[in-house]
């Protein structure tokens, strides 16, 4: 059974073309199609410029996927998300330069540092009301940037340059733009898939429960504070890995890259794409990162347009332009009823 009975209940007034587009967008193969498109794109155009733009866009997608865990799934407004990317980028930059390692081998250190950053930022703030949380994360984002600017180990205001390559096997380096693009795409695809899958798991459901109604979630035995902290840590790790890719891509990082504007741009990608809907978020991220490249002449007005779009989107579509449409199949009939009875019986409940 395809479950189309109840899908048709949703009020949809659209022509056949719109229906086809919509059907395509809801298709479960969409992710694979997008990945295939991303992998084929360099066959069409592989100038350093287009590879650079596409790599940057892919990294931005990863950031948006991470922020989507925090904002979209868990409903926590984080206005300093770029700080996690900074932590990842700086950690890998500092460690790789200190020990003369390819960036790939800094990943354990990046993991530790981003998880720590998630804990440090999350632990004191996640008990706060949501609006306080927003401004405190903004504060943390600024603290991170200013600290990076003031410390010697982070290279001060000039940051770190001459960052080693991601990985080198003898003569073969993954740093030729095309190879690096493919490496980036595969890593980003993995993280996007992982966050989409997380969204459809026990933990992902818990995030949504917290977003929808914290009290009701608590009453169900969901430790909302821990669950929120988990969202923060996952978001931090995603951001941190995006930071590693970023450092590897640019080979130079400086505090100026991690300003509030960047956090706001990632947030816009998530919001405009549709909070909680990973496909929408990917589209949103691509639009936000590619549009200015296509419309360079209007670049002075893009932030104004983004700002207006944000307001208009929230007033008319508070759940984002392409929000998650929760839907799942009705009973499939496949459930082994006896097994359920056994599981439901009192003994196994705790």
């Amino acid at each position: 059974m395809s479950g189309s009975t109840f899908k048709s209940q949703a009020p949809r007034r659209m022509g056949p073309v719109a229906a086809k587009v919509s059907g395509l967008l809801e298709s479960k193969y969409l992710g694979w199609i997008a990945l295939a498109a991303a992998l084929l794109a360099p066959l069409l155009t592989a100038s350093p410029y287009s590879l650079n733009v596409m790599t940057t866009a892919a990294i931005f997608v990863m950031l948006a996927a991470g922020l989507n865990i925090v904002v979209g799934y868990c409903g926590l407004l984080d206005l300093g998300y770029i700080a996690f990317m900074a932590v990842g980028a700086y950690t890998s930059g500092i460690v790789s330069r200190a020990f003369d390692l390819p960036l790939f081998f800094t990943i354990p250190a990046v993991l530790v540092m981003t998880i720590l950053a998630g804990l440090i930022i999350g632990a004191p703030t996640l008990r706060l009301r949501s609006d306080y949380l927003a401004i405190v994360t903004l504060g943390f984002g600024e603290i991170t940037r200013i600290t990076a600017n003031n410390l010697a180990v982070t290279g001060g205001p000039s940051g770190i340059y001459g960052i080693p390559k991601l990985l080198t096997f003898g003569d073969f380096s993954v740093h030729s733009p095309a190879v690096f693009y493919y490496v980036t795409i595969l890593i980003v695809a993995f993280f996007v898939l992982a966050s989409a899958r997380l969204g459809k798991s026990r933990l992902g459901r818990a995030w949504r429960f917290v977003r929808e109604d914290e009290d009701a979630a608590e009453a169900m035995g969901i430790h909302t504070y821990k669950v929120k902290l988990m969202a923060y840590i996952f978001g931090a790790v995603w951001g941190g890995f995006a930071g590693v890719l970023f450092a590897s891509h640019l080979t130079a990082i400086s505090p100026k890259t991690f300003i509030f504007l960047q956090s706001a741009l990632v947030l816009m990608a998530v919001v405009l794409g549709g909070m909680g809907n990973m496909r929408g978020v990917v589209v949103g991220a691509l639009v936000i990162s590619l549009l200015p490249e296509l419309l360079r002449d209007l670049s002075e007005y893009r932030y104004l347009a983004f700002g207006l779009l944000l307001v208009v989107a929230m007033v008319f579509r508070p759940k984002g332009l392409w929000p998650a449409r929760p839907h799942e199949d009705e009973r499939t009939g496949a459930e082994p009823q006896t097994a359920v009875d056994a599981a439901v019986s009192r003994g196994e409940s705790r």
């Binding site: 997380l198 026990r202 169900m220 009875d341």
Partner: protein, 262 residues
């Protein structure tokens, strides 16, 4: 019969106003107890104290020998207390099945890594979640669509989902806050029958309810509150005959007969 929940001299005050002032009662295994009282008597505040949403300013709450006074709601839920809310508190943007799955959060059976790599363990666990969600929806005789957001359902159906969600918690004790409010006659009869079936699962029930007919027919014992204080406790018959109860409900010096038939 062993005591499941022991509430002893429970107190809570908001800025000097004592919403609950010295509430004491026990709930035994497989027992259905009703807490009644006029609006503002402190019934919901008492529920919130028991389930950890308010920190009691005095007294104690003991669940199966564990002192849970002032613990986090999630920890209290984990000890075996499930509840519904006075005004539906469902996850409106999520599907019916997801709402019921919320009650199964403590089942575990999968880690985040299982989810990312879609391990066999994850698939088994998800299948079990889904099957169990259907089981509980069937248990409450839910007949609506299950794959659509809650917001698409009727009020009565939403109430059913809220109870299945609480049942999916598989707890020893279920607190129902006005489960019959807004239901029609047939639905109330179904609720009555449902409560008994829940009791037969081995779960004790404490309900706050204004529908006296339902209360009298369903509950084995009744706790009556007024102005935060417990003014009576006993079987339905004892409570009905208690002058303090009659006074609380209708004021002094008035003959009253509480209607038995809902």
């Amino acid at each position: 019969m062993s005591v499941v929940l022991g509430v002893n001299d429970l107190q809570i005050a908001f800025g000097g106003v004592k919403a609950v002032d010295g509430l004491t009662f026990d709930v035994h295994e497989k027992e259905i107890i009703a807490v009644i009282g006029p609006n503002g008597a402190g019934k919901t505040s008492a529920f919130n104290c028991i389930t950890g949403f308010y920190k009691p300013t005095g007294g104690s709450v003991v669940m199966e020998g564990t002192d849970i006074t002032g613990h986090r709601p999630a920890d209290i839920a984990a000890v075996g207390v499930a509840r519904t809310f006075q005004n539906l508190r469902l996850f409106n943007d999520l599907t019916v099945l997801d709402n019921v799955r919320a009650g199964m959060h403590l089942n575990r059976g999968q880690s985040w890594a299982d989810a990312i790599f879609h391990t066999p363990r994850f698939k088994r666990s998800e299948a079990a979640y889904t099957a169990e969600a259907h089981y509980w929806l069937d248990f409450v005789n839910f007949e609506g669509p299950r794959g659509v957001p809650i917001a698409n359902l009727s009020y009565g159906q939403q109430k059913q989902v809220e109870i299945s969600r609480a049942l999916a918690r598989k707890s020893k004790l279920l607190l129902l806050d006005e489960p019959a409010a807004g239901l029609n006659y047939t639905e109330k009869q179904n609720l009555l029958e449902l409560c008994r079936r829940i009791r037969d699962l081995g779960t004790s029930i404490v309900l706050i309810e204004h529908d006296m007919g339902l209360v009298m027919e369903l509950s084995e014992r009744i706790v009556v509150m007024n102005f935060g204080r417990e003014i009576a406790e006993g079987t339905p018959a004892e409570v009905k005959a208690n002058p303090a109860v009659i006074e609380a409900y209708l004021g002094k010096d008035e003959e009253v007969e509480i209607d038995d038939n809902a």
